[in-house]
Symmetry: C2
Subunit: 394 residues, 2 copies
């Protein structure tokens, strides 16, 4: 009797979800999630901001509000984008979403008919693949190397592929690969999309979390034709529990997102936007980000050192300049999905790489997260994982 | 160059949105929105709950959480559904959403392929029509009378229409008509959908806000085949600013909604769920609802009295037993969309009825909201509106 919409056929529970369920057990050393470290949340400052909002403007904070989001917060975000990312914009180009994930869903809804093509880095962020999948596109994976997307490959694909509606990229500290695009590639990317006039989503959740190397400009700051839909979020620099992200885009797209959001959800939670706005007004987010950065930098370095020590030399991995993840490539005869169960027996979890390739086929990679485990568990976990890998070597 | 998805063709800005923008001016007496009265929000109690959550469990409240929502809040909702609506359920059947609007979007996503049929009451809730529209269904309007949906008409339509995927209804104090289905119709409805085995959404945002007549059972409490997807929300009884609603449905649908929400938004805001859960634990929501009920009952009665006094006898209107709206039918030669501009000149706003009929064609109705205007503005507004109507009589 049950007769769901066709789009549901592509929507399947991922192996990752099953693994993440298992990793909820406290004895597991988990490199599987992508959680920020909860001990770093500025709880006391948020308490102050939250209480002030309810005290000063309770009835407004608890009422309905506009679909595009709180004007003051959007102004603060626009100023921050200018200051941190050299993106010249204003609140009329900032659309609030319930985390970046919702922005991905809105983009899929706006652009994708069944069979339309989405280009993604190979590998790409699992959550974006899932968000788009519902709209039944065809994914074309653009080959990458240690410096991210290979621009010659992108151009080749654009020259020969019809119905490319969207390109989805994470140029800074990519999830899952940890890779960062150098300046030349960024410029080349803009040249190419300007030529083909295709929209690109620049997802930048980790941009503020750089541990090494020099700051590189956001694609959006190089965007002269309003082709970049930039996504930001408070999830990694402040707290994910408020579900606050934003899209920075053209006014024409603002109008479209407004209609989509009106129909899908009406608006982002009024009080959450006001509390974060108040936090930004009262406290120094940059000083807080500095704390996070120092902690994650240390954990990142410790994980890389441990991998140097305990992983066999057959394993190649990224030395990320920032963000939350590193990415390891094992000998091609090792299936990291099978090996994940062996690792779980040793109480260690990671995410097998396969889910990050929308068209499948790559069985020997793994994503490792270092942001939310304390030092001794990072070392111990990598040591155990190294043992598991060694046992799988031929 | 811009080439949006086909589904965007059906998504148009509504006249209502334009009217609502105009009504934001403070001098306007607005019967147009559907806002709860902000002066009734339990701001102080919410402050206490909010602060306690951050104090006792800040890092948890600010972190990511599960897609289906906070287990404790879902338990509290299940208990409340049993106590208030005689719906026997548990937290495994409660899925949290960012307001009911998101539940409507999820249902559209889950069930509707382009061309599939959705049955709605005629008129029906504009927000639901908008939510489904994105999925390109064909709407079939089921005729109604003063007692809501006419069951003989429903049966006739089901017997002769293919691809009916969903029925969307508001049996209690419907938005926009203010009508309530009597018990016999509820039983008959369940008989019919059981026979045809078609899913129905029971949207019940106003159920607790009854001002007259006897309590009537929710369709969900009569549902033996798990065909009813019940929607509840805290927006009307507590505060819309948290964006918290829920779906109560079968475990099979919980699983589907989980996949849809994972892809669309990951989860509902952690802290919002924890604050409302804490509020329910510490304070008496029923006592608070009693206050709202008393206030809205009074405003409802005052509006109806004023309509008796100032509206010409050619106008027929609902005497609602609860909820936020009444609905007036004017002589068929009056176009309430045209008349809305005349009313705005007199600083009075309402929503023209046309938008509540997905297939259009009904030009002479209007929806009037009485929940968020003080007494003197209700009387003055209805008096002015009566004048405008009289000036339009032939």
């Amino acid at each position: 009797m049950v007769n769901y919409a066709e789009r549901m056929q592509g929507v399947k529970p991922s192996d990752v979800r099953e693994i993440l369920k298992l990793t909820a057990r406290p004895e597991i050393i988990s490199f599987a999630g992508g959680l920020p470290a909860p001990e770093l949340f500025p709880v006391d400052d948020i308490r102050v901001a939250s209480d002030l909002v309810l005290k000063e403007a309770g009835p407004v904070a608890l009422q309905y509000a506009t679909t595009e989001g709180n004007p003051k917060l959007r102004e603060q975000i626009a100023e921050r984008l200018d200051k941190k990312n050299n993106i010249k914009t204003d609140k009329e180009h900032i659309f609030m979403t319930a985390g970046s994930q919702q922005g991905l869903d809105y983009c899929g809804k706006l652009f994708l008919d069944p069979g339309d093509v989405v280009l993604v880095e190979s590998p790409s962020y699992l959550g974006a693949i899932n968000a788009f999948q519902v709209y039944q596109p065809r994914f074309v994976e653009v080959p990458t190397d240690g410096d991210g997307m290979i621009m010659e490959e992108l151009e080749k694909i654009l020259a020969t592929t019809e119905n490319v509606k969207l390109i989805y990229v994470i140029p800074d500290f990519q999830n899952p690969s940890g890779r960062t695009w150098p300046l030349e590639r960024r410029k080349k990317f803009m040249e190419i999309i300007n030529k083909y006039e295709v929209y690109a989503i620049e997802d930048n959740p980790y941009g503020d979390l750089r541990y090494a190397g020099e700051y590189l400009p956001a694609l959006k700051s190089l965007d002269t034709k309003e082709l970049i839909i930039y996504m930001g979020t408070f999830s990694k620099v402040l707290a994910p529990g408020y579900r606050l992200g934003w899209l920075c885009c053209s006014e024409a797209l603002m109008w479209q997102f407004n209609m989509i959001a009106s129909a899908a959800v009406l608006q982002t939670a009024t009080i959450n936007m006001m509390v974060v706005s108040k936090y930004l007004e009262l406290f120094d987010l940059d000083a807080h980000v500095e704390k996070i950065r120092a902690c994650y930098k240390h954990r990142c370095e410790l994980m890389l050192q441990s991998m140097d020590e305990y992983f066999p030399e057959e394993v190649k991995f990224t030395r990320p300049q920032g963000g939350l993840f590193t990415w390891a490539e094992l000998p091609s005869y090792i299936d990291t999905k099978v090996m994940a169960l062996q690792a779980l027996e040793k109480q260690v979890a990671y995410v097998p790489g396969i889910g990050f390739f929308p068209n499948g086929g790559n069985h020997s990679c793994m994503r490792l997260n270092y942001s939310c485990m304390p030092d001794e568990r990072i070392v111990e976990g990598i040591k155990r994982l190294g043992g598991v890998i060694k046992a799988n070597l031929k």
